[in-house]
Structure formats: structure tokens, C-alpha cells
């Protein structure tokens, strides 16, 4: 489950960015502090990054740089919850979630006509999992309950959602990385969702 790492030198070579750019993005928070992993090597200390995440992030920064400013980008990548709220119809119209899943969510939650960012996020995650067939409806409700309180409890700090099933019984929990989990053989990890990644994905849809 551990991410593959890439050293700073390899990263600069691979992405063709300069030290100045890397440090600027770090300063702006475009590359999160906890992605800079210090490790001792035989040549001294070196900095490593989680390979897949940092490469995809840099790719996005490079591709978007031209149309939006760095400061606007910061908002996209920050795991802090936005003050965005959307009308229920808009959520379906803008293809953020399918109308079926939205209906399930509204039945469950019984909220009004406007969804705030956390609610959009919950239904967005639910949509992903139901569409992919990882969860059924009842399981989705359990997930929603966890998400609802979890996003408030973890407000602002990076966290992940773990979805598991044992003997057909579904359960899920949230944890803040870096963490490793170990479970018995009968338990199956269905999905491990990084909230920051989903938030980023959602924000791109909301722009």
C-alpha cells in the first residue's frame, strides 16, 4: 500500500522543472509539506516524494499555469473546505453526480435545495462508488454517515477513507495519514480514498 517514492533529483529531471519552481510551489502550498519526505541515504540526506501523486500534481500545475494564476491554483489544491454551495438542480446539471445518486442522497439526508461544499463532496464520493459498483445503496448510507461527521472532525487536515468488507458485512472509517493499516485475512479492503485527491477532482469540476 506504500507509495512508490521519487527522489528530488529524479523529479526535477523527469518533469523538467527547476529548483526555483519547486520551492515556489512548495511556498504557495501547491505541493503539500507532507509530500517532502526526508530520508537518509549513503550520500547524506535526500528528499523524496510520493511518485504518482507528485507527478500528477506537477502535471496539473504545468498544464493549468497559463490560464489561471498560482494563487487561484492554491484554492484548487487546498484541502480546506470551500464556501461553494450549489443548487440541487445544478449539481445534477453540471454532471457532478448522476441524478439517481443525487435522489438517494436527498432521501437520506432530507436537506434543502442548496448543498454546501461538504455535502457536494459526500454525494460526489458516493456517486463514484455506486457507479463503479463498489457499494450498494445501504452501504452508501453507512458511508454518508461516516463522511458527514468525519469531514468536520478532520477539517483541514489530510485524511483518507477506508472501505472494507468482511463476510459480506460492510464497514468504513477515516484516518489521517501517514498511517499503515493491517487487517486479518478475511477482511477485504474495497477502496482507500484520499480526500485531498477527491476534493481536487471535485474542485476542478466546480471551477
Amino acid at each position: 500500500m506504500e507509495d512508490e517514492l521519487i527522489s528530488k533529483k529524479e523529479l526535477l529531471e523527469h518533469t523538467n522543472i527547476s529548483y526555483g519552481q519547486l520551492y515556489r510551489w512548495k511556498r504557495k502550498g501547491l505541493i503539500p509539506e507532507d509530500w517532502f519526505i526526508k530520508k537518509s541515504t549513503y550520500t547524506g540526506q535526500e528528499t523524496f516524494f510520493p511518485k504518482d501523486r507528485v507527478l500528477s500534481r506537477i502535471d496539473k500545475i504545468k498544464n493549468m499555469k497559463e490560464d489561471i494564476s498560482l494563487d487561484e491554483l492554491v484554492d484548487v489544491f487546498s484541502p480546506v473546505f470551500d464556501k461553494i454551495s450549489l443548487n440541487v438542480d445544478e449539481v445534477a446539471q453540471r454532471n457532478i453526480v448522476t441524478s439517481e445518486v443525487l435522489k438517494i442522497y436527498l432521501d437520506f439526508n432530507g436537506c434543502g435545495q442548496v448543498l454546501d461544499f461538504n455535502e457536494i463532496l459526500s454525494v460526489f464520493i458516493l456517486n463514484k462508488l455506486i457507479v463503479s459498483g463498489d457499494l450498494n445503496l445501504d452501504e452508501g448510507k453507512i458511508l454518508l454517515e461516516v463522511l458527514q461527521e468525519g469531514v468536520i472532525k478532520f477539517k483541514g487536515i489530510p485524511c483518507e477513507v477506508f472501505l472494507m468488507r468482511k463476510l459480506g458485512v460492510f464497514f468504513c472509517f477515516m484516518a489521517s495519514p501517514p498511517c499503515r493499516i493491517y487487517h486479518d485475512k478475511g477482511t477485504r479492503l474495497i477502496r482507500r480514498i484520499n480526500m485531498a485527491t477527491v476534493i481536487e477532482e471535485l474542485k476542478l469540476k466546480l471551477i
Binding site: K9, E13, S18, Y19, G20, L22, Y23, R24, K26, R27, G44, Q45
Partner: protein, 240 residues
């Protein structure tokens, strides 16, 4: 809150007050404020202690000031001595006296003319020092200009765009007479354009690197041009 009804807090002589939201806060003499302070103008002339955090547009410590929490400021000037137990976040910070910051210094522009000790990292767009400083963590700025006078500066890591370290002319003269030896020490220095003098570092990595007089570097890695001038000592150089 309506800005017009903000009042003024002034301690003349010796006194203490609760925190709160003010227009101006002035301590002339010795004063202690218990609680967080939000104000437009903040001045300490004499000695002051804030038992909380400070949020101001325009702050100045002439004398001595202790802030138990963090400082958020648009402009902040420390002319005497300052001790900040949290971080300083802001736009422009000028340190002409001496300051100790327990956590981070996160600003747009910082100018150190006196001495500064920073417990964690220093993040800025423009970093200028003609004094001395100690950064326990990373000094990260787009434009770093360090002028060495007669004291040692120390930092664990430096990263940024343009990094230049030079001996101030007058200090150079003193150095010739062997009275002082101003030097910058850093484990790692990484940037795009690096020009160094009197710097001791294990590793220097950059696009274009110039290592000048008084430098002792274990390893230089460069992408573009590498230059060595004066009596610089470089153990190993590598083009990558």
C-alpha cells in the same frame, strides 16, 4: 463590527489590560495585555507583553516586546527586541533589532538588518539580510540576498530562485585584517541562479552556480554554467 466604534487602548506608565478589538494600541512604558489583540495600529515604546496573539495592519516594537502567540500583520517592524512564541505571517517585515521567532516566518518581503532567530522555516518572496540570522529549518524564497557583515549566519537548508551571498565591502576589509570572518553556513543550497561568497555548505545544487572567495563546498551539482573564483574550495563538482 463597525470600524468607527473601535476604541483606543493606551497604556502610559505601567499597567495591564484585557485584549480585544481596537483601533490603535499603544504601550508607552511597561504594559501587559492579557488575551488576543486585533487592531489597526500597534506600537510598543518601552516594554510590552501580549499574552495571546496579535493581528494588526501596522505594527512596531520600539523597545522590547513579547508575544505569547503568533503575529499576523501587514507591516511589522521590530526596532528593539522581540520574542514571538508562535509564527509571524504577513506582507512586509523589517527586523532592525533582534528577534526570536519560535515557529515560522511567512511573509512576502523580509529585511533583516539586525539579528533574527527562527525556530522552523522562513518563507518569503524576497529575503534580504544585511544582519545575521539563524533558521533551524528551511529558508525558502524566490529572491534571496544575503550580505555578510561581521557575524555568522546559519541555516539548515536554503531553496529558491535567485540566491546570492556576498561579503559587504566594509566587512571584507575587516576580514582582510583577520578581525572578523563573516560566514554563512548551510547544509544544502538549491536554486536556479546561485552566487556565493564566504559560504560553507555540504551540497550546492543549481542551474548556474558561481562559487567565490572564502567558500568551502563539498559538492556542487550544476546544470548550466559553473564558475569558481578566488580561493574557493570545492571538493567535487558534477554536471548533471
Amino acid at each position: 463590527m463597525d470600524k468607527n466604534v473601535r476604541c483606543e487602548l493606551r497604556i502610559n506608565g505601567c499597567g495591564s489590560s484585557k485584549g480585544g478589538i481596537f483601533n490603535t494600541v499603544k504601550i508607552n512604558g511597561a504594559g501587559k495585555i492579557i488575551g488576543n489583540v486585533i487592531c489597526r495600529v500597534f506600537r510598543i515604546n518601552g516594554s510590552g507583553i501580549i499574552n495571546g496573539s496579535l493581528d494588526t495592519e501596522d505594527g512596531k516594537i520600539n523597545g522590547s516586546g513579547i508575544v505569547e502567540g503568533g503575529i499576523k500583520a501587514h507591516e511589522f517592524i521590530i526596532n528593539g527586541s522581540g520574542e514571538i512564541k508562535g509564527s509571524i505571517k504577513g506582507e512586509n517585515v523589517i527586523i532592525s533589532g533582534s528577534v526570536e521567532i519560535a515557529e515560522n516566518l511567512d511573509v512576502q518581503n523580509v529585511k533583516i538588518e539586525g539579528s533574527a532567530k527562527i525556530g522552523h522555516d522562513c518563507n518569503a518572496e524576497i529575503f534580504y539580510s544585511s544582519g545575521s540570522f539563524e533558521v533551524q529549518g528551511l529558508l525558502n524564497a524566490d529572491d534571496i540576498k544575503i550580505r555578510l557583515h561581521d557575524l555568522k549566519s546559519q541555516v539548515t537548508e536554503i531553496g529558491g530562485g535567485k540566491i546570492s551571498v556576498a561579503i559587504e565591502a566594509s566587512a571584507g576589509l575587516k576580514a582582510l585584517k583577520n578581525t572578523v570572518n563573516p560566514v554563512l553556513e548551510s547544509e544544502v543550497i538549491e536554486g536556479d541562479e546561485i552566487v556565493l561568497e564566504n559560504t560553507i555548505a555540504k551540497e550546492v545544487r543549481g542551474t548556474n552556480v558561481t562559487v567565490g572567495r572564502g567558500c568551502e563546498i563539498d559538492l556542487v551539482e550544476y546544470k548550466g554554467i559553473f564558475r569558481k573564483t578566488g580561493d574557493a574550495k570545492v571538493e567535487e563538482e558534477r554536471k548533471v
